[in-house]
Symmetry: C2
Subunit: 193 residues, 2 copies
Protein backbone atom coordinates (compact mmCIF):
# COMPACT_ATOMS: atom_id res chain seq x y z
CA UNK A 1 0.00 0.00 0.00
CA UNK A 2 1.44 3.40 -0.93
CA UNK A 3 1.71 5.84 1.98
CA UNK A 4 -1.22 8.23 2.44
CA UNK A 5 -0.65 11.95 2.89
CA UNK A 6 -3.16 14.60 3.93
CA UNK A 7 -3.32 17.72 1.76
CA UNK A 8 -3.89 20.72 4.03
CA UNK A 9 -4.23 24.25 2.76
CA UNK A 10 -6.50 27.04 1.65
CA UNK A 11 -6.59 25.35 -1.77
CA UNK A 12 -10.06 24.19 -0.77
CA UNK A 13 -11.21 27.82 -0.98
CA UNK A 14 -10.05 28.34 -4.57
CA UNK A 15 -12.76 28.71 -7.23
CA UNK A 16 -11.62 25.46 -8.88
CA UNK A 17 -11.08 23.53 -5.64
CA UNK A 18 -12.04 20.09 -6.98
CA UNK A 19 -9.82 20.43 -10.06
CA UNK A 20 -7.03 21.73 -7.87
CA UNK A 21 -7.30 18.70 -5.58
CA UNK A 22 -7.14 16.39 -8.59
CA UNK A 23 -3.98 18.13 -9.81
CA UNK A 24 -2.30 17.88 -6.41
CA UNK A 25 -3.27 14.22 -6.14
CA UNK A 26 -1.84 13.45 -9.56
CA UNK A 27 1.50 14.97 -8.56
CA UNK A 28 1.51 12.90 -5.38
CA UNK A 29 0.69 9.76 -7.35
CA UNK A 30 3.69 10.35 -9.60
CA UNK A 31 5.81 10.20 -6.46
CA UNK A 32 4.17 7.06 -5.13
CA UNK A 33 1.91 8.73 -2.57
CA UNK A 34 -1.86 8.52 -2.17
CA UNK A 35 -3.06 12.02 -1.36
CA UNK A 36 -6.19 12.62 0.67
CA UNK A 37 -8.03 15.91 0.17
CA UNK A 38 -10.36 17.48 2.75
CA UNK A 39 -12.91 17.45 -0.08
CA UNK A 40 -12.86 13.63 -0.30
CA UNK A 41 -15.97 11.84 0.87
CA UNK A 42 -15.75 8.90 3.27
CA UNK A 43 -18.15 6.29 4.55
CA UNK A 44 -19.59 8.16 7.51
CA UNK A 45 -20.75 6.50 10.73
CA UNK A 46 -24.55 6.69 11.06
CA UNK A 47 -24.30 8.90 14.15
CA UNK A 48 -22.80 11.70 12.06
CA UNK A 49 -26.17 12.17 10.36
CA UNK A 50 -27.38 14.27 13.28
CA UNK A 51 -24.41 16.68 13.02
CA UNK A 52 -24.56 20.09 11.38
CA UNK A 53 -22.68 20.24 8.09
CA UNK A 54 -19.64 22.03 9.51
CA UNK A 55 -19.34 19.57 12.38
CA UNK A 56 -19.62 16.68 9.93
CA UNK A 57 -16.87 18.17 7.76
CA UNK A 58 -14.75 18.60 10.88
CA UNK A 59 -15.15 14.95 11.83
CA UNK A 60 -14.38 13.90 8.27
CA UNK A 61 -11.15 15.90 8.20
CA UNK A 62 -10.11 14.42 11.52
CA UNK A 63 -10.74 10.93 10.15
CA UNK A 64 -8.79 11.78 7.00
CA UNK A 65 -5.85 12.98 9.05
CA UNK A 66 -5.81 9.96 11.34
CA UNK A 67 -5.70 7.75 8.23
CA UNK A 68 -2.60 9.46 6.82
CA UNK A 69 1.10 8.87 7.50
CA UNK A 70 2.01 12.52 7.01
CA UNK A 71 0.75 15.95 6.04
CA UNK A 72 1.66 18.23 3.14
CA UNK A 73 0.50 21.71 4.11
CA UNK A 74 0.17 24.80 1.95
CA UNK A 75 1.40 27.57 4.26
CA UNK A 76 1.17 30.31 1.63
CA UNK A 77 0.00 33.41 3.54
CA UNK A 78 -3.79 33.64 3.51
CA UNK A 79 -5.79 36.79 4.37
CA UNK A 80 -2.94 38.18 6.44
CA UNK A 81 0.75 37.69 7.07
CA UNK A 82 0.44 34.06 8.15
CA UNK A 83 -0.92 30.73 6.99
CA UNK A 84 -4.59 29.77 7.00
CA UNK A 85 -5.66 28.91 10.57
CA UNK A 86 -7.41 25.71 9.52
CA UNK A 87 -4.14 24.56 8.00
CA UNK A 88 -2.20 25.58 11.12
CA UNK A 89 -4.66 23.57 13.20
CA UNK A 90 -4.10 20.53 11.01
CA UNK A 91 -0.32 20.85 11.22
CA UNK A 92 -0.60 20.86 15.01
CA UNK A 93 -2.96 17.91 14.94
CA UNK A 94 -0.64 15.79 12.80
CA UNK A 95 2.43 16.80 14.79
CA UNK A 96 0.74 15.67 18.01
CA UNK A 97 0.05 12.31 16.33
CA UNK A 98 3.77 12.04 15.57
CA UNK A 99 3.36 12.32 11.80
CA UNK A 100 5.93 14.27 9.76
CA UNK A 101 4.95 17.73 8.53
CA UNK A 102 5.89 18.81 5.01
CA UNK A 103 5.01 22.33 4.01
CA UNK A 104 5.26 24.67 1.07
CA UNK A 105 4.56 28.25 0.04
CA UNK A 106 4.63 30.36 -3.10
CA UNK A 107 5.67 33.33 -0.95
CA UNK A 108 9.25 33.15 0.26
CA UNK A 109 9.64 36.21 2.49
CA UNK A 110 9.85 35.54 6.21
CA UNK A 111 7.18 36.27 8.78
CA UNK A 112 8.76 39.44 10.14
CA UNK A 113 9.03 41.05 6.70
CA UNK A 114 5.49 40.04 5.75
CA UNK A 115 4.01 41.27 9.02
CA UNK A 116 5.70 44.67 8.86
CA UNK A 117 4.79 45.07 5.18
CA UNK A 118 1.10 44.35 5.82
CA UNK A 119 1.09 46.63 8.85
CA UNK A 120 2.49 49.43 6.72
CA UNK A 121 5.55 49.66 8.94
CA UNK A 122 9.00 50.19 7.45
CA UNK A 123 11.12 47.07 7.19
CA UNK A 124 13.80 46.88 9.85
CA UNK A 125 17.33 47.69 8.75
CA UNK A 126 18.73 44.95 10.92
CA UNK A 127 15.96 42.39 10.81
CA UNK A 128 17.48 39.93 13.25
CA UNK A 129 18.99 42.37 15.69
CA UNK A 130 16.21 44.39 17.26
CA UNK A 131 12.93 43.60 18.94
CA UNK A 132 10.28 44.28 16.31
CA UNK A 133 6.80 45.56 17.12
CA UNK A 134 3.85 46.25 14.86
CA UNK A 135 2.09 49.64 14.90
CA UNK A 136 -0.18 48.36 17.71
CA UNK A 137 2.85 47.61 19.87
CA UNK A 138 2.48 43.85 19.53
CA UNK A 139 5.68 41.85 19.21
CA UNK A 140 6.61 40.54 15.76
CA UNK A 141 8.40 37.20 16.03
CA UNK A 142 11.82 37.79 14.60
CA UNK A 143 13.70 34.53 14.51
CA UNK A 144 14.27 34.58 10.77
CA UNK A 145 11.58 31.93 10.36
CA UNK A 146 9.00 31.47 7.66
CA UNK A 147 5.96 31.68 9.97
CA UNK A 148 5.07 31.45 13.67
CA UNK A 149 7.67 29.38 15.50
CA UNK A 150 5.13 26.68 16.29
CA UNK A 151 4.75 25.97 12.57
CA UNK A 152 8.44 26.11 11.70
CA UNK A 153 9.22 24.22 14.90
CA UNK A 154 6.82 21.40 14.11
CA UNK A 155 8.21 20.98 10.61
CA UNK A 156 11.71 20.68 12.02
CA UNK A 157 10.91 18.57 15.10
CA UNK A 158 8.83 16.13 13.04
CA UNK A 159 11.60 15.42 10.54
CA UNK A 160 9.61 17.07 7.76
CA UNK A 161 10.58 19.86 5.42
CA UNK A 162 9.64 23.28 4.07
CA UNK A 163 9.75 24.22 0.36
CA UNK A 164 9.56 27.90 -0.55
CA UNK A 165 9.44 29.70 -3.89
CA UNK A 166 9.03 33.38 -4.69
CA UNK A 167 6.30 32.92 -7.26
CA UNK A 168 4.51 35.49 -9.38
CA UNK A 169 1.16 33.72 -8.90
CA UNK A 170 0.26 32.99 -5.30
CA UNK A 171 -2.10 30.15 -6.17
CA UNK A 172 -0.66 29.16 -9.53
CA UNK A 173 2.84 27.77 -8.99
CA UNK A 174 2.98 24.14 -7.90
CA UNK A 175 6.78 23.96 -7.98
CA UNK A 176 7.21 24.20 -4.19
CA UNK A 177 4.36 21.73 -3.73
CA UNK A 178 6.17 19.18 -5.85
CA UNK A 179 9.37 19.78 -3.88
CA UNK A 180 7.43 19.07 -0.67
CA UNK A 181 5.89 15.95 -2.21
CA UNK A 182 9.32 14.69 -3.20
CA UNK A 183 10.57 15.17 0.36
CA UNK A 184 7.49 13.44 1.78
CA UNK A 185 7.95 10.51 -0.60
CA UNK A 186 11.60 10.14 0.41
CA UNK A 187 10.60 10.17 4.09
CA UNK A 188 7.51 7.99 3.94
CA UNK A 189 8.73 5.48 1.39
CA UNK A 190 6.71 6.49 -1.62
CA UNK A 191 8.16 5.36 -4.90
CA UNK A 192 7.67 6.70 -8.39
CA UNK A 193 5.49 4.37 -10.42
CA UNK B 1 -3.06 18.15 42.36
CA UNK B 2 -5.15 20.82 40.62
CA UNK B 3 -5.63 20.29 36.87
CA UNK B 4 -3.11 22.04 34.62
CA UNK B 5 -4.29 24.11 31.64
CA UNK B 6 -2.20 25.55 28.81
CA UNK B 7 -2.76 29.23 28.02
CA UNK B 8 -2.55 29.66 24.26
CA UNK B 9 -2.93 33.00 22.53
CA UNK B 10 -1.28 36.07 21.10
CA UNK B 11 -1.16 37.43 24.66
CA UNK B 12 2.55 36.54 24.56
CA UNK B 13 3.00 39.30 21.96
CA UNK B 14 1.51 42.06 24.14
CA UNK B 15 3.89 44.70 25.49
CA UNK B 16 3.23 43.54 29.05
CA UNK B 17 3.28 39.81 28.29
CA UNK B 18 4.72 38.66 31.62
CA UNK B 19 2.25 40.74 33.65
CA UNK B 20 -0.56 39.53 31.43
CA UNK B 21 0.42 35.90 32.03
CA UNK B 22 0.44 36.52 35.78
CA UNK B 23 -3.06 38.02 35.59
CA UNK B 24 -4.41 35.09 33.57
CA UNK B 25 -2.80 32.62 35.98
CA UNK B 26 -4.34 34.35 38.98
CA UNK B 27 -7.79 34.06 37.44
CA UNK B 28 -7.21 30.36 36.77
CA UNK B 29 -6.00 29.84 40.33
CA UNK B 30 -9.20 31.35 41.67
CA UNK B 31 -11.05 28.60 39.79
CA UNK B 32 -8.79 25.82 41.05
CA UNK B 33 -6.66 25.47 37.90
CA UNK B 34 -2.90 25.70 37.50
CA UNK B 35 -2.27 27.66 34.32
CA UNK B 36 0.86 27.12 32.25
CA UNK B 37 2.06 30.00 30.08
CA UNK B 38 4.26 29.57 27.00
CA UNK B 39 6.56 32.03 28.75
CA UNK B 40 7.17 29.65 31.69
CA UNK B 41 10.62 28.15 31.94
CA UNK B 42 11.09 24.42 32.46
CA UNK B 43 14.01 22.18 33.31
CA UNK B 44 15.31 21.52 29.82
CA UNK B 45 16.99 18.29 28.72
CA UNK B 46 20.71 18.83 28.07
CA UNK B 47 20.31 18.03 24.37
CA UNK B 48 18.19 21.14 23.87
CA UNK B 49 21.28 23.28 24.45
CA UNK B 50 22.32 22.78 20.83
CA UNK B 51 18.98 24.03 19.49
CA UNK B 52 18.40 27.51 18.10
CA UNK B 53 16.28 29.67 20.39
CA UNK B 54 13.09 29.32 18.36
CA UNK B 55 13.45 25.53 18.20
CA UNK B 56 14.06 25.44 21.95
CA UNK B 57 10.92 27.53 22.57
CA UNK B 58 8.99 25.19 20.29
CA UNK B 59 10.11 22.14 22.26
CA UNK B 60 9.26 23.88 25.50
CA UNK B 61 5.74 24.70 24.36
CA UNK B 62 5.22 21.12 23.24
CA UNK B 63 6.35 19.90 26.66
CA UNK B 64 4.06 22.42 28.35
CA UNK B 65 1.10 21.22 26.28
CA UNK B 66 1.77 17.54 26.93
CA UNK B 67 1.80 18.32 30.66
CA UNK B 68 -1.65 19.92 30.62
CA UNK B 69 -5.11 18.41 30.86
CA UNK B 70 -6.68 21.02 28.61
CA UNK B 71 -6.12 24.23 26.70
CA UNK B 72 -7.63 27.70 27.10
CA UNK B 73 -7.03 29.50 23.81
CA UNK B 74 -7.41 33.19 23.03
CA UNK B 75 -8.92 33.14 19.53
CA UNK B 76 -9.38 36.92 19.31
CA UNK B 77 -8.63 37.80 15.67
CA UNK B 78 -4.96 38.63 15.24
CA UNK B 79 -3.48 40.45 12.23
CA UNK B 80 -6.33 39.38 9.99
CA UNK B 81 -9.83 37.95 10.21
CA UNK B 82 -8.82 34.79 12.08
CA UNK B 83 -6.99 33.67 15.19
CA UNK B 84 -3.21 33.66 15.60
CA UNK B 85 -1.75 30.68 13.70
CA UNK B 86 0.45 29.62 16.61
CA UNK B 87 -2.68 29.40 18.74
CA UNK B 88 -4.53 27.47 16.01
CA UNK B 89 -1.60 25.05 15.86
CA UNK B 90 -1.79 24.52 19.61
CA UNK B 91 -5.54 23.92 19.51
CA UNK B 92 -4.97 21.22 16.89
CA UNK B 93 -2.15 19.73 18.91
CA UNK B 94 -4.23 19.45 22.08
CA UNK B 95 -7.26 18.15 20.24
CA UNK B 96 -5.16 15.36 18.72
CA UNK B 97 -4.02 14.46 22.25
CA UNK B 98 -7.68 14.19 23.25
CA UNK B 99 -7.62 17.17 25.60
CA UNK B 100 -10.63 19.51 25.76
CA UNK B 101 -10.37 22.87 24.02
CA UNK B 102 -11.75 25.99 25.72
CA UNK B 103 -11.56 29.22 23.76
CA UNK B 104 -12.44 32.88 24.11
CA UNK B 105 -12.45 36.10 22.16
CA UNK B 106 -13.14 39.78 22.78
CA UNK B 107 -14.51 40.02 19.23
CA UNK B 108 -17.90 38.40 18.81
CA UNK B 109 -18.64 38.75 15.08
CA UNK B 110 -18.47 35.57 13.05
CA UNK B 111 -15.77 34.64 10.56
CA UNK B 112 -17.78 35.49 7.45
CA UNK B 113 -18.57 39.00 8.65
CA UNK B 114 -15.00 39.65 9.76
CA UNK B 115 -13.52 38.35 6.52
CA UNK B 116 -15.79 40.43 4.30
CA UNK B 117 -15.23 43.53 6.44
CA UNK B 118 -11.44 43.23 6.26
CA UNK B 119 -11.62 42.55 2.52
CA UNK B 120 -13.64 45.72 2.07
CA UNK B 121 -16.52 43.74 0.61
CA UNK B 122 -20.12 44.55 1.50
CA UNK B 123 -21.67 42.29 4.09
CA UNK B 124 -24.08 39.79 2.62
CA UNK B 125 -27.78 40.49 3.03
CA UNK B 126 -28.50 36.86 3.63
CA UNK B 127 -25.35 35.73 5.37
CA UNK B 128 -26.19 32.06 5.62
CA UNK B 129 -27.90 31.61 2.30
CA UNK B 130 -25.41 32.32 -0.45
CA UNK B 131 -21.93 31.14 -1.27
CA UNK B 132 -19.65 33.96 -0.17
CA UNK B 133 -16.38 34.83 -1.92
CA UNK B 134 -13.78 37.45 -1.09
CA UNK B 135 -12.65 39.99 -3.72
CA UNK B 136 -9.97 37.48 -4.88
CA UNK B 137 -12.66 34.89 -5.59
CA UNK B 138 -11.66 32.71 -2.65
CA UNK B 139 -14.47 31.05 -0.74
CA UNK B 140 -15.42 32.51 2.64
CA UNK B 141 -16.58 29.80 5.01
CA UNK B 142 -20.16 30.62 5.83
CA UNK B 143 -21.43 28.18 8.40
CA UNK B 144 -22.30 30.85 10.96
CA UNK B 145 -19.23 29.85 12.97
CA UNK B 146 -16.81 31.95 14.96
CA UNK B 147 -13.69 30.94 12.98
CA UNK B 148 -12.50 28.26 10.56
CA UNK B 149 -14.55 25.11 10.99
CA UNK B 150 -11.53 23.16 12.23
CA UNK B 151 -11.31 25.46 15.26
CA UNK B 152 -15.02 25.55 16.03
CA UNK B 153 -15.21 21.83 15.27
CA UNK B 154 -12.42 20.95 17.68
CA UNK B 155 -13.98 22.96 20.49
CA UNK B 156 -17.25 21.13 20.01
CA UNK B 157 -15.87 17.64 19.39
CA UNK B 158 -13.56 17.86 22.40
CA UNK B 159 -16.33 18.72 24.81
CA UNK B 160 -14.89 22.19 25.39
CA UNK B 161 -16.49 25.57 25.02
CA UNK B 162 -16.28 29.00 23.40
CA UNK B 163 -16.83 32.29 25.25
CA UNK B 164 -17.35 35.44 23.20
CA UNK B 165 -17.81 39.08 24.16
CA UNK B 166 -18.10 42.19 22.01
CA UNK B 167 -15.53 44.23 23.90
CA UNK B 168 -14.39 47.77 23.33
CA UNK B 169 -10.77 46.85 24.05
CA UNK B 170 -9.47 43.91 22.04
CA UNK B 171 -6.73 43.04 24.52
CA UNK B 172 -8.21 44.58 27.63
CA UNK B 173 -11.37 42.65 28.54
CA UNK B 174 -10.79 39.41 30.44
CA UNK B 175 -14.49 38.69 30.92
CA UNK B 176 -14.69 36.03 28.20
CA UNK B 177 -11.42 34.54 29.46
CA UNK B 178 -12.91 34.06 32.91
CA UNK B 179 -16.00 32.48 31.35
CA UNK B 180 -13.74 30.02 29.53
CA UNK B 181 -11.80 29.33 32.73
CA UNK B 182 -15.01 28.61 34.58
CA UNK B 183 -16.05 26.12 31.89
CA UNK B 184 -12.62 24.48 31.94
CA UNK B 185 -12.74 24.18 35.72
CA UNK B 186 -16.19 22.57 35.58
CA UNK B 187 -14.93 20.10 32.97
CA UNK B 188 -11.53 19.30 34.43
CA UNK B 189 -12.49 19.25 38.08
CA UNK B 190 -10.90 22.46 39.25
CA UNK B 191 -12.37 23.83 42.44
CA UNK B 192 -12.37 27.32 43.80
CA UNK B 193 -9.95 27.61 46.71
Amino acid sequence: MPPRVYLAGPDVFLPDAQARAATLKAICARHGLVAVSPLDEIAEPPEWARLAEAARLYRRNEAHMRSCAGIIANLTPFRGPSADVGTAFEVGFMRALGRPVFAWSTVAEGLATRTLMLAGAPAADEPFAAELRDPDGLLVENFGLFDNLMLDGAICASGGGLALAASAARWGDLGPFETAVRAAAACLGGRAA
